[in-house]
């Protein structure tokens, strides 16, 4: 199989080490964007009473910046525990979709491995790995290798940057506005994943609803935005489909 790949014939290639390196390489833009975000969160934690260990635990446990920031800031503000937990999980609900979307690519993996594969599921992983997998030239082992390469580089950078910022009390120079890096790349992800009119509409409606609902309790504005946007567009698409069927 290796010989096939190197001779340029269109065969799926398996060497997981090569796939691992490719995954790490492809996730690099994401890593560059999340490091400032991680440093900013680490510095925020440094400003609270949470302490170094709780701070690092929040980074390594939650592995999701927006939810972690929500949790840490609410803990510092003395918000009721139930409210904090509910808010953080609502912010993270989209992760369930990424999990469902990744599942077919790992369907043949043993359950034990799936338990590990689940760990780094986050926006940057989903939008890097799924397009790569869709090219269809990786074996199941190749996919695991690619995913592992991307995931380990991302997680190591994420946790490392936070641990550094928390323990050094590092501050990002404000004039650099590095905190914009993560939302910038996320916006770029939206730009790349809205090829159809329906997707563009869903993104637009979600943005408007998220803005309108930003003061809703428990971060439910996010949930309302996503469910509302998808609901509206699905209904609109179905109407157009049946209207087209009638005309035809």
């Amino acid at each position: 199989m290796t010989a096939c790949a190197e001779s340029g014939l269109a065969a799926p290639y398996g060497p997981t080490r090569r796939a691992f390196a490719e995954g790490a390489r492809d996730i690099t833009p994401m890593v560059i964007s999340v490091v400032p975000f991680a440093l900013a969160i680490g510095a925020t934690i440094g400003n609270t009473d949470l302490g170094v260990w709780a701070g690092i635990a929040s980074a390594a446990g939650i592995l999701a910046g927006a939810a972690q920031l929500t949790t840490v800031e609410m803990l510092d503000a003395g918000v009721a525990p139930f409210v904090i937990i509910a808010s953080a999980l609502i912010v993270n609900l989209r992760i369930a979709l990424y999990s469902a979307g990744l599942a077919p690519w790992f369907a043949e993996q043993p359950t034990r491995r799936k338990l590990l594969l689940a760990v780094p599921i986050i926006d940057q992983m989903y939008f890097t790995c799924v397009p790569r997998f869709e090219r269809g030239d990786l074996t199941p082992a190749g996919r695991v290798g690619y995913y592992a390469g991307a995931g380990s580089f991302l997680l190591a950078s994420w946790i490392g940057a936070q641990a550094l910022a928390i323990s050094l009390g590092a501050r990002l120079p404000e004039q650099l506005h590095l905190e914009i890096a993560a939302p910038l790349v996320l916006a770029g992800i939206v730009a790349r994943s809205t090829a159809t009119r329906s997707q563009q509409l869903a993104a637009l409606i979600a943005g408007v609803l998220a803005f309108a609902g930003r003061d809703l309790p428990l971060q439910s504005g996010l949930l309302v935005a996503v469910v509302g946007a998808v609901g509206i567009v699905v209904v609109r698409d179905r109407r157009r489909a049946s209207a087209a069927a009638e005309v035809g």
């Binding site: 927006a66 369907a107 803005f211 699905v234």
Partner: protein, 106 residues
């Protein structure tokens, strides 16, 4: 700050988030996402990430709103990503835009 509560909250958020992560992987068994999920899934990614971006740049709780500079910089990044499909170019264009726009007082 009561230590115990902090650890309990962190444990719950960690466990809950992990359940969200493992759920799909375990429940979607065969090589196919269930059909009824197909078109919502295509829409959910763009919707969820857009909502996330808005929630990051617009502070809740009646703050003074997102800075125009942030909105402008993100707009630049969006357009560059659309044109080039390259996220590094997005960063390379968006960050300096942020510096310029902030400097001129937006």
């Amino acid at each position: 700050m009561i230590e115990m509560v902090v650890w309990i909250v962190l444990a719950c958020v960690t466990a809950g988030t992990y359940l969200l992560r493992i759920g799909g992987l375990l429940l979607v068994r065969d090589g196919q996402v269930p059909q009824w999920l197909d078109s919502p899934l295509a829409l959910l990614g763009p919707a969820a990430v857009t909502a996330l971006v808005v929630s990051i740049i617009v502070p809740s709780g009646g703050g003074d709103g997102a800075s125009l500079a942030a909105i402008g910089a993100i707009g630049v990044g969006f357009v560059v990503a659309r044109r080039t499909g390259n996220l590094l170019y997005s960063l390379a264009a968006g960050l300096p835009s942020m510096w310029v726009l902030s400097a001129i007082g937006l």
